[in-house]
Every structure is written in C-alpha cells, then in structure tokens.
Symmetry: D3
Subunit: 305 residues, 6 copies
C-alpha cells in the first residue's frame, strides 16, 4: 500500500479530533449498560397507536369494521404497552447522567407507568372528543367531526399534547418533550407538555402558537394562529442565568378567545369569557368578560401612493 | 395458566372500554362495504406525481432526458389516474356517513373526475409557471427558475393549493383538504383549497400565512410570512354556533403586496395595486393604489437601558 | 383491440401536451450527461451524518459507547465523504444550465470541497456547542444540555444553518439551500444559509423566524418566535425587478435579544446589548444598549363586553 | 439539442423493437380492464397469514399470548380475507385471455371462494398437525413439535401444498401454482398443488422431491430427498404433443416409505406398507407390504487405487 | 347495524374455532414473560455480520478500504454481540416449554455464550479460508479466491454450517438449526449443525447434499451435488418411534472424494483417501484408499430406437 | 470510566485480531479508488428489468396496457442501461486485483458493453420465447404460455442463463456468475453462464440440474430434474491442481431428452435424437438416435417383508 493521500490524511485527522476523549466529554451521549435509547421512531409509534386506539378507523392501518373493532383495539393495546415500556425505560435511563443504572428496577417502574397510562386511555378519549366537538362547532368551514378528526392539525397537536401531558404526570422524562416537538414540527403549534389545559380546547390554523410550561388554560378556550402564552422575564440567579421551575406563564380562564398573533406574557390572569384581539401585547391582568381590541386609529397611516 | 396479573387486568379493562359499542359511536370510522379509505400516503403520491408531471426531472425519480420525457410522462399519467380514481372514490365514500354506499356508481363518478383532472394538467402547468416566474423575478436571492421550482417552499404550497383547488371544483370531498394540510405541515402555509387565487401568485418565506376558504385573490399578488386573510367574526345560528358557508374572507385585487404579519379580516376589498405594511390589522376596505403603513411614531418607546 | 375510449383519449392528449418539446422548455430539468442529481434524501443524509458526528450517540443509530466511539466516528466520516462528493457534484452540475458539463473536472472540485468541509467538522462542533450551552443557560425549562441537543428544534435549525453555511463558503450551489429548507420545513425557522451568525446563538420556540441572506448576527444573540430580519425594500432594475446581491438585511450586534414577532427590516444596525420588544416594526438604527418596547398605552382599547 | 449519439440510437431502436405491436403479441400480458394482477408478494402474504393463523405465535409478528390470541386471530382472518379476494379475482382474470372480463361477477365469485377457504382453515390446521406429529415422531434429530413447526422445510412445503390444494379444489387458477412454486424455490420440494395427499405426510430433507399433478398419496407416507413420483411417458396427440389431463402419476398406499432418490414413474400402484429403497427406478406395481432394495452386489465395483 | 351476512358469520366462526383454548394447545407458541422470540431476520443478520467480519469488503455494505477496516470491524462486532445476545436468549427461552423462565439468569448465560462465540471468530476465519482455498484449487472454473468467496453457494453453506456448529458447541438451542436451514433454502445443501467437519472442506454445485447430525468428516473432503451422508435405519423404542441421539451417520476419513448422488448410509467408516463414485448406494465400510465405481456394464441397456 | 470488563476485553481483542494487516491480506476485498462494487441487489435488478422488457406485464410492476407499453419499455430500457453500466464497471474493477484502476477507461468500456447488450434484447426475447413454447408443448400440466412465463422456475433459470451468457460473450467478469447463482438459489438449477445452449431448451422440475462451463447443448433439448452434464475428471498440473479452461463437459445434440438424475460426464458426444433414461451414469459417446435405459432386471431385489 502506498503513502496516504491528502484526503486520507484529512479523514484520519478529523476522525481523531472528533473522537478523542477530551473532545467528546460534553457532546456525546454514551450508552453504558445496554439500556434502550429514546427513539424518534418509537415515540412517533406511541402517538400513532394512541391515536388509532382513541379514534379507531381513522389512523394506523384503518381497516376497522363492526366485527373486528375489539380485535383491532386489543392488538394495538398490546403493541402500545410494549413500546411504552421500552421508551419509558429509555427516558428514565436518559436522565441518569452519572452513576449506576439499575435496569431491572427501572423496568419495573416503567411497566407500572405504562399500565397507568393505558388505564387512562378511555378518559383521554373522552377529553379529546370534547376538543373535536368544540372545533367542529367553532369552524364554519368544518363539514363533520370526522373531517376534524382526520384532517385538522389542531387535533394532531392537541392529541400529542394530551398524550405527552399524561406522561408528564407519570414523571416520565424526555419522552413527553419529544412527543410535543413532533407535533410542533408537523403543525407549527408548540405546546409545552407540562402546561395544564381544560376540556373543549380549540385552535384555529395554529401555526406559530406557543404555550409555555407553566401556563394554565381553562375549559372551552380558543386560540388562533401565532398566539403566544409566554414568559415576560425570567428571575435570574447569581450568575445571571434564569432560575428554573418558577411559574411564569399566564392563567387563562374558561371560554376565553385569543385572536391571531396576540402575545400574553407573564404570570397574569385572563378572566373567564374575556376576548383578546389580534396582534396585541398583553402583560397585565384582564378582568372576567373584558374585551381588548387593537387601537386601530393609531395603528397605521393610510395614504395614496 | 395462572391468575391474571394486574397488568393483564388493566389491558383487558381498557380494551373493553375502548371498543364497546356505546363508546365508539362518534370516535370510530367504520368501513362498511370494502370501500377504499383516504390515505395520507396515497394523497402524498398524487401530489408527487402531479409535481413530476408538471415539472419533469425535478421531482419523483428525476432521471429524465430528451429521449425519455414522453415515456416518463406517459407512465406517470397512468399511475396518477390509478391513484386518483382510488382516492376520489375514498373521498366520496368518506363523506357518506349513513346509508348504503353504491360503490359501482361512485367508481364511475370517480373515473370521470379523474379524467377531468388529468385533462386540466397542461393548464395547471401554465398557471404554476406564472407563479414560478413571479417568484424568481421578485426575490433578489433567487438564482434561477430551476432553483425556485426545486427548493422554494412557496412553490410547494402553491402547487398543493392549485392541485387541491382543481379537486374542489370537481366536488371531491376531504382529499383537497388533506392535500392542503400536507403543504401546511411542510411549509407552515395554510391556504384553504376552496380559496380563489389568480396567476403570478408569490409568497416570501411563508411560515404562518393563512388564506381562508372564501378569500378571492387577484393576479400578481405577493404575500409575506405571517399574513392572515381571515374572517373577522362569524354569523351564528340560534345555538350560538357559526353558520357555515357564508363569504367571510377578504377580496384582494391585482398586484397587491401584503407585508409580514399583516392581518386582513372580514369580507372587505383590498383594491388593485394597494400595499399593506407589516404587522397591521385591517378590517375595512382599502382603495385601489392605497398604501397602509404602521404608525411607527406611536408604535414603540425607545429608551436607554 | 377496439376503439379508444374517452379516458384513453384524455390520457393520450394530456401526455402529448405535457411532453411536447415546446411545452417542456422551461419547466423540465433534463439530465444531459449521466451526472448525479440533487436529492432530498441524500441531503438529509448529509445532515444526519454531520449531526451524528458532532453529537455522537444522540442521532443516527445511536449505539455508542466508550469503546466504539472511534469506530463509529470513522465509519460515519467515510460515509459522509461519499455522499458529500456525490451531492456537491450534483449541485455543481445543477447550476450548469447550458453547455457541456466536464464531469471529471467537477468531480475533482467536489472532492476538494468535501475534504475541506470534513476538515472543518471539529470547529463546527465547537461552535454548535456554544449554541447548545447558551440555549441551556437561557431557558428555565431546559433540564440538561443533553435534552437541548436531543429535543430542541432550535438546535436542529442552527445545525442545518451552520452546515449549510460551510457549504456556501465553499461555493457549493443549491445544496445549502436544500439543507436550510429542510430545517425550515421541520422547525418553521427560515435562516438563509448565506447569512453570517456568531457563536452562542439561541432561538426560543422559533416558528416563523426569518433571517435574510445578507443579515449579519454577532455573538450571543437570542431570537424569539416570529422574528424577521428582513429587507425593507429592493432596489429594482430598469425592468422593475429587484437587483440581486445587494446587502439589504440588518446587522445585529453582540448580546442583542429580539422578542417575538418583531420585524427588523433593511440594512440597519442594531447595536450591541440592545433589546427589541415583541411585535415591533423597526426600520432604523438602534444604538448600543438601547431598549425598544411597544407603546402599550396606545396599543389597544380595553372595554367591558 | 445536438445529434443523437450511438447509445441513444441503440436505445431508441431497441425500445421500438421491443414494444411494436407485432412483437409483443405473445410475450406481453396486457391488463385490459383495471383488474388486479397476480402478485408474488400478495401470494406470499396469503401463505404467511395462513401459517400465522394455523400456528399462532410461530410465524408473522409472533407476539402472541394467552390474552391476545383471539384478537391476533381475528385481525389476521380479516387481512387474509382481503388479500384472498384480491388474488382470487386476479387469478380468475388472468386465465381469461380473450373476451370481456365481467369484473363484478368475478368479484362475487372470488368472495365466495375466499369465504369457503376461510371456513376450512380449522380443518386445515388439524390436517397439518398430523404432518407435524408424524415428522416429530419419525426424526431422531427432532427435539419438539415446536422445532418441527418452526424450522423444518418439509412443514413449509407441506403447508404451501395443503393451502394451494384447497384453492385447486375451489377452482382458482394460477394462484395455487404460484404458492407451490414459492415452496419449491425455498425448499427444493416440488409438489404439484393438484396432487392428492393424505394425513400424516412426512418428508425428510426434501431437496429434489417431485410429486406430479395426478399423484395420489395415502396416509402416513414418508418420502426422502430426491424422490420422484413422476410420469413415465405421455400420450401424445396427432401433432406429437402430450395430451393434457390424463392420470399419469403413481398411486401410493398408506404407510409407504420411499427412500432417497427413488423414482416411481407412471400410473402404477405402490401397495400399502410397501418400502422402496433408495436410488431405485420403479415403473411397475408393487404389492402391499413388498420391499424393494437396490441389488447392491451388482451395483458397484470395489478396488484398490 | 343490520344482521350479519354470511361472510361475517363465516369469519366469526372461523376465528372462534382457531382461537379457542382447546384448539390452540399444541399448535400455538405463546410468549409468557416478555422474552424475545427467535427471528428469521435476526438470525440472517447474525450470519450476515459474521460473513462481513470474516470476509470484510465482500458482504454487508462493503465499502471497506485500508483506512477504515478497523472501524468497520469494530462496529460490526458490537452489532453482532447485540443481536447474538438477543437471539441466544430467544433460543434458550424457546426450549423452555413449561415452567417459569428466569429471564435475568438466561440473559447472563446468553452474554457469556455470545462473548465465547465472538472470541472464536478469528479461528473461524482461518478455518473458512482453508475451505475457500481448497475450493479454488479444486475447481477448474474458479478464477480467484475472491470469486469463490463472493459467488460460490458452497462457501455460503459451509459458512452457515461453521457458524451454526459453534453455537451447537455452546449449547444454544434452535438458533443453529435456523442458520443451517437458511443455507439449505438458499443453496439446497442441508448440513446438520451438529455434524463434525474438518478443514479444507469443499462442495461442488451442492444442490441436494445431505449431511446428518452425527456425521464426522475429516480434512480435505470433497462432496458433489446430491450426496447423502445419511442414516440407514433407526433403532426404535417400544412404541416404534426412533430413539433420539444415537450415532447413525457415517465417518468420512481425510481426503475422501464422493461423487454426485452417492448415498453413504449408516454408522460406517469411509477410510482416508477413498473415492466413492457417483449414484452409488454404500452401506458398508470402505477401506483406506479404496475406490468404488458404478458397475457400468450392468447399469443400463443400450439400443437403437 | 472504570476498568474494562471481560466482555469489553473480548471485543477489543477480537477486533484487533480480525482487522490487523497480516490477517486480512487474503480474506478482505478492499476498495481502492471509489469504484462501484458488485451488488447482489443491482444484479437482481438487472435480471428483473430484462424480464420486464422481454415479457412486459408479467414482471416488475406489471401495469401494462396497449397504450402505455412503449412508455413502459422506454423507461425500463433507460433504467436497465444505468444499472448495467454500473455493474459492468463493478465487474471489470472487481477482477483487477493489483495495480491501478483506470476508472474512466473502464467506464467507457462498460458503456459500450451495456449498449451491445441492450441492442441484443430483441433477439434474446425471440430465443426465450422458443423456450417458452417448447415448455408449454412438452408439459401436459401446462395450461397456457402465460402460465409458463409467469410461474415456471425453468423459465426463470433459463432467462438468467441467457442474460448471463450474453454478458459472458461481452467478456464481463463475475456479474454473469452472480446472475446464474441467483437462479441456482431460487430454482436449484445450476447452469454455468459460459455453457452454450440452443433454442427451444426445456427443463422439467429442474431441482438439482447441473450444466458445466464447457457444455454445448443443441436445439430442442429437454432435461429432467437432477441431470448432471459434468466433468469426468480433471487434468491436473504439476501441483496436482486442475488445469483451468480445458473442454471437459459433454456435447448434447439436437432433440435429445435426458431423464431425471442421469449423469453425463466428460467431453463425450450425445448424438441428436438420443434418449437417456433416468438414474444412469454415462461416460462414453452415445450415437444419434440411440436410447439408453436402466437395466431394471438387475437393479433391485424385490421381496416380501
């Protein structure tokens, strides 16, 4: 074999630089003990199976009829349990950065959490159907609840949120975030899985919506595209970094409507039945039943070209 | 076999709850008569085939040269017809919620609609190329019409809209909405397939754009990211639910430009050659040639930190 | 064989119309000399391999441990080089619209560019890790840098931008744009690959962000969802079309924060340490350390329903 | 575009020669009326589903437990019916070379045949299990009936034969032959689907076995590798071609054993309990209980090298 | 919902019959404790990985050069270990028909066996290369050892045998048999994994070869197509069933050649350097260096038609 | 990181042993210059495309009708040329073991060979159809030439042989052997691609057939399963190894029929119209029209058990 050419030298040096111990300390996720890894594919499968169980015949391989619906549900429940146990285990291991992982102990915990999640599926279906009905009734372009279930990105985003939120309640790390980010990618709707959202929740169009981790939303709330329920500012620690875990997002009362591109910021209260107009920046409480609209007169100059 | 363990009991109960007759009434899409089902994959295939036929060599397996272009187009036309017939049939069946489906009659109708759609492909190409040219001429960063066709999400979204709109005109249910939602998911551009849009339509960046079902857009209109052509309010029926089918979105004249995040709401007229500045909330008519800009002076406070 | 039926006639006419020479002149990308074609799949593979090399164990098939990290990196570097050479060649050929392609010459150039790209990977990792750290420190909801690397769409978008920008510097056509549009589609964040962005760049939520081709961004800048760094207007040529290549996007200083839905337009300077409030429309310079906030008092009317 | 090069001329001429009407008359299978086509993949799926239904937990995705076996069987039965109807239809259409295909009529017939096939599955399972038991008892190397079901190519070949034979009895064209050829390819065992074979049939090793279309085999027969149950000669018609459909293969009684590479040729009777030694050529009847062994003494010369 | 139609009744009855408890007792492989299942795909992957490790650059994704061979081998060794542990575990569980499976204990055992298997790979390579060299030297049509490694089905069959035999020595159930049956299916060569075979083993053409479980083959032996090293008869127990585990296949000395379709039956000795002619039936010992040829004179009648 | 465990040590040692330079010299196929590699998948694709071109509508995606057959053939011809050029290049490179590969020169040669191959396809179709007709006429169980084309393994084996033989005539290394081994694996029929075979060739059942590299077969010859046209002995060189390239297989005249398991060995002549009975071992010339049958009387002993 002859001398190395330039390209070979480049490769060798790059490989060395990218894999030497000191360089991979912070950027590499090592697998220590044969534990499963969080997997985008498996997480997507969890959501697909849940959606197929909640709305049989709409998602998954949808060949469902009156005779096989129990068989269909039975097989998918088993499949869901298997992938849930695997990914909950993966999530629990992922968050153990240092120290010994006790895989057997984690697996038992994962099985319990998976069972609790599955036991809750019928309630999850009821809750999601309140969202479907509210969406159908609130959209003049909607033809049927079937169309809403099958086509509306809002239902996709809310489904992922509600599934992820159940896992947050079961204290499963990372997997809920992956579930909500998948909906974020598909729909442009970014709902943090730790947020609390009541029944009959509707979203119109939805792209650009942000709902923060500590937001609390009542029943029958409707959001339009581009709405932010965000933080106004962060309390910072001695190093100037934000302190984690402080309630910092708004509380939205029942029956509130928030129009497109409005930003509601900070731990403020928007009272029940309030209406927030589009493109508004709100950082103070709004009383029950109050209505905020953009001050049109001052908002733009109109002149002939 | 021993007694059931807890996990088995949970599974059994959940399966029972999720599949018992009373619980699946509204949430389950049953297949009654062996009809095909709307399929996201097949719908994506329709779009992919149309795009490969309209812009040969850019999409699909793109190995097209001067000798095989007829063969390439021929094969894809046949494939398109097959999947169109299947999915139009599926759409027609999907919207039959109750009663007997006459599959043979629906299939004949689906074949006619598919033929009409295919007969219109050459005109669809002409129309789409006006969009491509307008995009190329209007974007200083665009290097060639080839780049525009191949890379620009706006062309993807407008292609899906124009394909879906043809199917709306042929009165195909649900499939058009699926086509436009696929573009919405990929590009963040949400154009309702029932909207009417003229030639030379351009979109810049595009994320967050919303065009409502009854909007009418003239020729050579340009929209920037975040623009909403929406409804201002809904007429409601006795139960307080929106009445379906009323014109409620704006009419945009020829050569109008609408800058980023502007919201144009209600059945208003934006006259030809008007310019709407960014971040503006417009709910009243704008005259031909008029220009609206944000009243900057009042818009923000500037101070030293 | 009998006479043609209507459907056959339609197909034949459409095929003829779609493939006749005069009709395909502008809309067809012909392959002249057996050159490779730009491929969305291959471009996605380039990004996936880069991400797997920069953050081993997080992406790709992630089964990395302390013993195999060098092997893992070694194999992926080789695979990356192969697909890079192919797609850089494809990009170089794609931009040759007329005239003879010298495939051998292009291949040599592609190999050199690929080697230069690979040699730069260790620096790319360092740079991206500054983004990860800044994101972790700046987000109260972030649990670990691992979570940031694995789940945050901002890191996906910035990774794609930084990879694409390296290829822009190597004068590779079209491929960088494809890479950034893939991130745009997944995250709603649209960063032009020609933009210049310093270290420690962070994005929160991100949907709807637009960064133009000639924008220059300093170190430790933070953008929120819906922010536009755009052009105000285009210089046009004698035909009224925009002149290509003129600097037209803003210059953002170090440590600037820009809140959600703010639009910064034109070749203006935003001084270091400035803060731009949300939903603001800025078309003039902002001094170092200055803070702009929406004039709330004038912004909306508040009344009881 | 320049003149065609040699390679282009070659391609054009070949395409013309391969597709001109006179040349494709006999070698081309045209699809006239949108009918489904026999598909190797679908036929393989039929066999896989049958095997999964007959031996649950061994084949297909094998995750079967005591709680889900009914669901598993239920889903697979539905899937089997769907693909059976499609492929039986395809088979019925395939054999209609000239004239109008009445797809609706054929579909009804296909559905009836599919239902009859499915109704027979429990009996098919009983029959196949007699083969499994006989194989286990007859092979000193077999560890369990489970191993026989899961690993033995003989069981694969006999399963395919028994499935195909059911379809022969239902007068389904071509599909049975495809099923038996798939087993032939996998195992080297070539059993014509029209042959008649009793219970408790066993095959050892099996490669090279041939069982002809009109062969009749009793209960508890065992064949070793390379055995031929073939035709001795064909009655020919006036043109010297074999007359189709005449019984021309042997009748094998109960409990017969035929050792490796023996050839039994013609419509002869091998009486019950007979034993045929290896490498023998038999063209005359063998009586009940008779034993034929190779005349070793004359068979080879033995000498020192 | 109306009354069931005939087809629905048939399905329901069949599902009931196929899944009721009494009917599935013997034919169903239930999974009791979440254990992995033997998988044809995973077993094929084991063989593919072994072949890629033993002959790098020939099998698997073969992009191996002088710089990456260590990385290539490293990654594949890790992958091999993972799938080996899984499938050895599956094999050990598969053979536990009744009683409690202690998955943790089995997993430890599987890991030890996998490590022992891997430690033996270098020796396995040496042994297989003796087979390659012998094949190349013995076949006038062979062009290079590379061609032998890459194309010869004999090397495929012998590789599978040698891999499977290692697992037999490690007392792994069922997996070895699956490995040898995969080679049997691909090549028509049926070597029982428990057979003992020396170095420099060659097979020509190979279809129809059978080597029994207790056969012992010396060094540098060559077999032609259709050769059987089989059992002559089985000792039977009181029920007339063969007694399992008794030595019943031949012992073949070094340097023996056995020509096509010869059958060597029973626990006899074929002495070193013996030559067995084709189509011969041998049931008695053959001395060292002896040569057996078919008694041609008596073998056929020659006459004019 | 702690000390290595045993398993890690085993892996490290094995990787070292399998990849160190001295150990991989003979067993590793290195890729030196970016050349393509022979690929089983691509070779299978060549055969699939040829079969789809020769028998349109039977193989590949078979949706061929009277309107699209030219398009279908056109696309497949182009695809065939592309994969042929790649694999012929790979084959030419594979056989260059030492020294510099001139890829550009090899590519030109590969393109010429591919064009010659394609130019010959119409003749190949004619020849193969003689085989189909002969098979149909000679088999009483055959229902139509369509069934023969679609289902008969003999046609698969002969197609692969005739395709591979064309490549042998064009002096393409290794690829022909891969093509014939794929048929060998699927059908058990092992025809060396260098053999010469006339028109109207038929095979019945076929498993176990061997046709050697220097065999010459006339027109209208029929072989049954298990027939060997082999070498009797090899001339050896000074080292005792067979001399390569010497004619050593039989010459079979027109209209010869050879029954099952007959072995014809050595460079002998079987005269036209001869008939060779089954299970016979022939090593001497057979005259024109002669008939050889097994001497039944001496062949076995018949007695009562």
């Amino acid at each position: 074999m002859g001398a190395e050419n330039n390209s070979e030298v480049t490769l060798r040096n790059t490989i060395e630089a990218l894999s030497c111990k000191e360089n991979i300390k912070d950027v590499c996720h090592l697998r220590h003990h044969g534990e499963p890894l969080p997997s985008q594919q498996s997480v997507a499968r969890i959501v697909e199976l849940c959606r197929g169980l909640i709305f049989p015949g709409f998602f998954g391989d949808s060949d469902v009829n009156r005779n096989n619906v129990t068989h269909y549900v039975g097989i998918r429940c088993e499949q869901l349990r298997e992938v849930l146990v695997e990914q909950i285990t993966a999530g629990l291991c992922f968050s153990v950065k240092e120290g010994k992982i006790d895989l057997a102990e984690i697996a038992v915990s994962a099985q319990e959490k998976a069972d609790q999640f599955i036991a809750n599926l019928p309630k999850l279906r009821e809750l999601l159907f309140t969202d479907v009905k509210a969406t159908y009734l609130g959209d003049p372009a909607a033809i049927s609840t079937d169309e809403v279930i099958y086509c509306y990105p809002a239902i996709r985003a809310i489904s992922n949120y509600r599934i992820a939120h159940e896992l947050v309640k079961l204290e499963v790390p990372i997997i809920p975030r992956m579930i909500s980010e998948q909906a974020h990618s598909e729909t442009g709707i970014d709902i943090h899985p730790a947020a609390t959202i009541g029944a009959g929740f509707t979203i119109d169009h939805g792209t650009g919506i942000v709902v923060g981790a500590t937001a609390i939303i009542g029943n029958n709330v409707k959001l339009y595209q581009g709405v932010t329920l965000g933080a106004k500012s962060f309390d910072t620690d001695a190093d100037g970094n934000p302190i984690k875990g402080i309630p910092r997002h708004p509380i939205i009362g029942d029956n509130v409507v928030i129009y497109s591109n409005a930003s509601i910021l900070g731990r403020i209260n928007i009272g029940a039945n309030a209406v927030i107009g589009g493109n508004i920046w709100v950082t103070e409480d709004v009383a029950e039943g109050e209505k905020l609209v953009q001050a049109k007169a001052n908002n733009f100059l109109r002149f002939k070209q």
